[in-house]
């Protein structure tokens, strides 16, 4: 399963994500909202992490920052040695929109709660989409997208539109899409939030399998039994890391 291999095989001492004092302040006119208040975090290759916290805790903002969808207002963020953002007083180094898009494209595989597949577009075309933006040739795109669909067990549904697939199947297409670029991390935001418990278990065991194949996975969730799948659980509260526990969880 070549599509499941991470881009770089690291070890515990070699973090791929380093967040230092990451702060995010939303300026809402009169008042300022502090979504993140100085987060320090290191994530290494092949870790299986869940980020937990109640709504409003800042975990979504943290996910957006890690996923390079958003940049912090202060602090430093390094991704595999590339400086995404470094705000130190007036000294600001920040990637522009296109560089961020490039990082998302090459290094991050997103799995969303709402699947976020293009409607009226076949599963295959959906999975191909990140490769389109990576400039991969049409022929190679098709081959790699089929491989990824095979990994999630949906090779026979390649020509189906999302509306013709069940919720669990849609999420598997989304996972295939996240895998197809062989990203450094898979970032799953409430991946089971829209699924029933049976399908949720199915998806989570699939995530476990992806981890055992060497992928780095970050789960954002508020459900404890989903978080249990991870080997490291980070609790976020009021924009700060409240706890960071490593434990032997189900693998």
């Amino acid at each position: 399963m070549s599509a499941g291999q991470p881009a770089s095989a690291g070890n515990g001492q070699d973090p791929i994500i380093i967040l230092t004092g990451v702060t995010k302040v939303y300026d809402m006119g009169k008042e300022q909202i502090h979504a993140l208040r100085g987060i320090d975090l290191k994530i290494s290759a092949n870790e299986y992490i869940s980020i937990m916290g109640p709504s409003g805790s800042g975990k979504s903002t943290l996910m957006n920052v890690i996923g390079c969808l958003d940049t912090p207002t202060a602090g430093r963020y390094e991704f595999e040695g590339e400086l995404v953002c470094d705000v130190d007083g007036d000294k600001i180094t920040r990637m522009d929109d296109d560089d961020l898009a490039g990082i998302r494209n090459r290094k991050i595989g997103f799995v969303f709660q709402t699947f976020n597949l293009l409607a009226r577009t076949s599963a295959l075309r959906n999975v191909e989409l990140p490769l389109v933006y990576a400039g991969v040739s049409r022929k190679e795109r098709s081959v790699r997208a089929r491989e990824a669909l095979e990994i999630v067990g949906l090779a026979d549904r390649a020509d189906h539109a999302p509306s013709e697939l069940s919720g669990g199947q849609r999420q598997r297409v989304a996972i295939a899409r996240a895998l197809v670029t062989k990203p450094s991390i898979i970032l799953a935001d409430e991946p089971t939030g829209n699924l029933d418990s049976t399908t949720s278990r199915e998806i989570m065991s699939f995530m476990d399998e992806l981890h055992s194949q060497g992928n780095t996975i970050i789960l954002v969730t508020h459900e404890a039994d989903i978080a249990k799948h991870a080997h490291r659980v980070i609790h976020i509260l009021d924009g700060q890391v409240a706890s960071d526990e490593r434990g032997a969880a189900a693998a």
Partner: protein, 404 residues
């Protein structure tokens, strides 16, 4: 690029009827311009055809210029008439000239037995006129120098005159009367058709000398038609002719010409000036309708961008750069415009062919206009697609993903 076209195609296909309506705006604009320009182009072509009878290598020496202001025209009326002796004067001296003939004109009445024709163009000419005007005789012969030298009462008639007076019977050898004078028909001219609405075949040619003798020489102004030795020598012939005519008129250096040398191109210039206005009007109407169509495209693109905010969010989260989103929407608006141009062009071509075949108007759409149309697509698509596409490209991925 192919990928972008595929995306645009499927996006438009998803909203076929809307795309069709948007296309319609552009199509109507292109159709309007197409038909108006086709008619103008058709007029141009038939005009050029018609005035080609005058011959591009023929100069017309006259008392006054064909096209000039009112004051100049009144002024020219006071000039001395040009007499028949100028013909001899010119042919004896001109080097760049192959044929010279006078051209005396008046309208008159033709009669054959009890039939009569009014308003026929009577032309007093020399034998050279057949060559100057490139006219062929289909029956009998044209006037000869003997006819002119001896002031013979002979005439060569146009096809229409033969049709009306002789109804398809032999005309050569018959006697008819022109303004009450007896003439012998010696030839019939090949059919000429019309020029600027006038039937060129309603004509009777007689020797210039006979013309003056029979119909009077007092107050008679004549035009002299001069054919240059070759088309390339027209301008040399014109300069030479001016010098000869100045000597003929006994003008001192510095004195203004009291004659004019006209040619086909001066008619063309006049025509171009007149149709230039028509072009401006056509371009004005066309531009307005294209702008209306373009605004329609922009409006729909703005709606499309808003509707597809979530899709844009997905694409951006998967790593689409701004330029990729920008091009996606620009290509879409250009495809809409292109379809409009195509539909408009096909409709205008069809209408032009219909006009050509079913009305006296000529209409023609040169295929090169399709290239022009494609240029229009790029401009309309770009201008009116740019703002919506920029809006799409600048969307924030997080906000776009929240939108649904």
């Amino acid at each position: 690029m192919i990928e972008t076209l595929r995306i645009a195609g499927s996006a438009l296909w998803a909203h076929k009827f809307r795309a069709f309506l948007t296309t319609l705006g552009i199509a109507i604009g292109i159709f309007t311009i197409g038909v108006v320009m086709a008619i103008i182009e058709g007029l141009n072509t038939s005009f050029a055809d018609q005035i080609s009878h005058l011959g591009s290598d023929v100069l017309y020496v006259d008392k006054r210029a064909w096209f000039q202001g009112r004051d100049a025209w009144i002024n020219a009326r006071q000039r001395k008439n040009i007499g028949l002796d100028a013909v001899e004067y010119i042919s004896a001296r001109a080097q760049y000239v192959s044929h010279v003939s006078p051209r005396i004109f008046q309208r008159g009445q033709l009669k054959f037995r009890e039939k009569s024709l009014d308003g026929i163009a009577l032309m007093g000419v020399h034998a050279d006129m057949a060559i100057i005007q490139g006219q062929e005789v289909v029956e009998g012969r044209f006037l000869s120098s003997l006819d002119t030298d001896h002031r013979r009462p002979v005439t060569v008639i146009g096809e229409a005159v033969r049709e009306s007076l002789f109804e398809g019977q032999d005309a050569v050898g018959k006697r008819l009367t022109i303004n009450g004078r007896k003439f012998l028909v010696i030839g019939v001219l090949e059919k000429q058709g019309t020029m600027l609405g006038r039937n060129l075949d309603n004509v009777a040619y007689v020797p210039a000398e006979t013309f003056l003798k029979m119909f009077g020489r007092r107050w008679r102004n004549i035009t002299i038609a001069v054919k240059a030795s070759s088309p390339e020598l027209v301008n040399d012939a014109k300069d030479e002719l001016e010098g000869i005519m100045r000597r003929y008129r006994k003008l001192r250096p510095g004195q203004e010409n009291d004659f004019a040398i006209n040619q086909q191109s001066s008619l063309q210039e006049f025509y171009d000036k007149a149709t230039g206005m028509l072009w401006m009007v056509a371009i004005g109407i066309g531009s307005i309708s294209l702008i209306v169509g373009g605004v329609g495209v922009m409006n729909i693109m703005l709606v499309t961008v808003t509707e597809r905010t979530f899709e844009i969010g997905i694409r951006k989260s998967l790593g689409a750069r701004r330029s990729a989103i920008l091009w996606q929407f620009l290509v879409e608006s250009m495809v809409v415009s292109a379809l409009g141009v195509l539909v408009g062009f096909v409709a205008a071509s069809g209408t032009a062919i219909f006009i050509q075949n079913n009305t006296p108007l000529a209409a023609r759409i040169p295929p090169t206009w399709l290239g022009l149309g494609i240029g229009v697509v790029v401009i309309v698509g770009l201008i009116f697609g740019l703002w919506p596409a920029t809006k799409a490209a600048r969307l924030d991925p997080i906000e776009a993903l929240r939108y649904e």
